[in-house]
Symmetry: C2
Subunit: 375 residues, 2 copies
């Protein structure tokens, strides 16, 4: 039983079923306007075929009923969901959130909505999430992979869901990807330190099972190997100590470094033959934690020890000593990933697979300086 009643405090006609209010559908609009549902749909989709007077009466009915088109039903019918799934490693990491802001910017232009979730770097979560996205028939997925085999990602691509890898250098044939050359970035950081005369370097890396940490490890070693070859004739060899932290966080870095300093296991910043004169951190958060630990022990930056980060999050300029770091263009990365996803389904270029790699650059600020004579 459907009836109409006009609310008292409202100009609108309110549809009710057995007294309960009911959201109006195209059918209700059509009835009120005295046209067919097809015509209502044509008005909703701005088809020029509709006569102006008919259009007007339909629009009047829409307003009167307070009709709001159900875009979920529209999506089911057209097969085009407005949702794009985004799975990152960690919602609270500024790197991903600045990237997400870039994604959002690009997606908004297309009227897309972002379904954002974090995998917490666990393959199980990633698999579950990707399957949820696929079941929802999202328009596509932006994924920072944890599972390097990309098993589930391939699974949903086979199901017809385009996937763009974010912050991943993998180049599978059926997924686009956007990445920064992490190895090169780490190389540049070390080269910067070597050029300042630092020969004893501490490398605070992230967890060794994370790809980003692995690549930065490779870059560090490559830079040192190259430099060692060129420096064969000099007396002082390059010494590297690498520590894998439990996470890419300031907390992990601070407590680890504090322990090392207190335990005198590493004579960081002390003018001895054994002490590192520079620290390269695998991301800015680690560098911030390291800076805190160092300053708490009275070790000066950059006089006693130079410090280099990675990412260039906005806080890198705000640390007590502004941070020299390897800049990743986070917002552009996110924007580019979203762009590749949207382009991959444009009618003009279906399945347009592309692998975009950005080259990072060293931003020199105040946390690095020449290794002093005493060092």
């Amino acid at each position: 039983m459907t009836s109409k009643s006009t609310g008292l405090n409202d100009e609108r006609t309110v549809l009710t079923v057995n007294g309960l209010p009911k959201r109006p559908r195209v059918k209700d609009v059509a009835e009120l306007a005295g046209v067919s549902v097809g015509t209502v749909s044509n008005v909703l989709n701005s088809r020029s075929s509709v006569r102006p007077e008919v259009r007007n009466s339909v629009e009047a009915a829409i307003t009167e009923l307070g009709f709001v088109r159900n875009t979920a039903a529209q999506a089911l019918r057209t097969g085009l969901s407005p949702f794009v799934g985004v799975a990152v490693l960690d919602l609270t990491n500024p790197f991903f959130m600045e990237a997400a802001a870039g994604m959002e910017e690009r997606l908004n232009n297309e009227g897309c909505l972002m379904a954002l979730a974090s995998t917490n770097s666990e393959a199980d979560n990633e698999a579950h999430l990707l399957r949820s996205f696929a079941a929802q028939r999202v328009r596509g997925v932006l994924l920072t992979p944890t599972d390097s085999s990309l098993t589930t990602a391939h699974e949903i691509v086979r199901q017809g869901i385009p996937v763009v890898l974010f912050d991943s250098p993998a180049t599978p044939p059926n997924m686009s990807s956007v990445s920064v050359n992490d190895q090169k970035g780490a190389e540049l950081a070390i080269e910067h330190l070597l050029s300042l005369g630092h020969h004893r370097i501490l490398f605070l890396n992230g967890p060794s099972h994370v790809r980003q940490a692995q690549d930065r490890h490779l870059g560090v070693n490559r830079a040192i190997k190259l430099a060692s070859q060129n420096l064969q004739h000099t007396i002082s060899p390059i010494e590297l100590t690498e520590i894998s932290l439990a996470s890419f966080t300031a907390n992990a870095a601070r407590s680890e470094l504090q322990e090392l300093i207190v335990g005198s296991k590493l004579q960081v910043g002390r003018p001895t033959q054994l002490a590192p004169t520079a620290i390269f951190c695998a991301n800015d958060l680690i560098a911030i934690g390291a800076m805190t630990a160092l300053q708490a022990s009275g070790i000066r930056i950059p006089e006693d020890v130079s410090l280099v980060g990675f990412d260039d999050i906005s806080l890198a300029q705000q640390t007590s000593v502004s941070l020299t770091t390897v800049r990743q263009p986070m917002k552009e990365l996110g924007w580019a990933a979203a762009d590749l996803l949207l382009n991959s389904q444009s009618p003009s270029a279906p399945k347009n697979i592309e692998h975009k790699s950005f080259t990072p650059e060293v931003i020199v600020r105040d946390s690095t300086a020449e290794a002093s004579a005493s060092q």
Copy 2:
């Protein structure tokens, strides 16, 4: 024309239409299993009514076809979308992202997906976003309002979309809300500074049109008023200077403060009668920026000037001098907001409106100390 073919590199039966692969539907599963679609649906929804042998054959068909149930269609039919819309002021603000992590945790338990977007503190964006969420018939919306009139929020509530206000003290009759008593928090911060003997205080607030900034302003003034009454007999009056920054960011704070120091407009940290001996910052990011500006000018914290933040983001412990701050339980706030939303639609308690207010607490760390005699 529909045909079946068995792929070579796959055990599965692949459905095709005119040579193009086609995703299997319940109908295809039903045909292969030799049952009706209703039975397939019963299996998918684990209804105990299905005979075990029938269930088995349906499950076999599902596996063989690689069937993935379309949850968007399911949502349309059942009227229950898995999506919850979340609209925050700024994706790159750690406060919101730590809260989002809490929301995600609660929503995941319910199998919900988070549609996350930022309004950038603009009412137009907020209105647009809320309408998109409503058109998608999301299960509910978590909103940090920019538009204090809540016009669009009310609009979608009338359409049947539950809205829970996040980080908002508004108590409309038809929306739950979760908030922290910002006024109280600011009061506590000032009381802490007064108790340390600081009488000349600089207050670096956020933009004055933002509700959080307004409430913290009220709290600051209230604390000062109360203290002034109690101190009427003492000689030294309490002096407050408030500056409204353009945004709640470290950058804004640092440049503003640097300008003040360089221009000698405020003798911050100088032992004169006019210099503030303490700074209260409306959030931790502002405090981080302030810390940088102060240290860059050789002003010591807390010896020359005490510094208090607000939020207790994880970085607050990682600043060069660890930050005394007013803690908001961000993750719990997010969790509680999601919880209220989900409960509001439980059959047991429909439309269960609740207003949760959390009380903040001062976390004393190293950035505050007693006002020294010279001050």
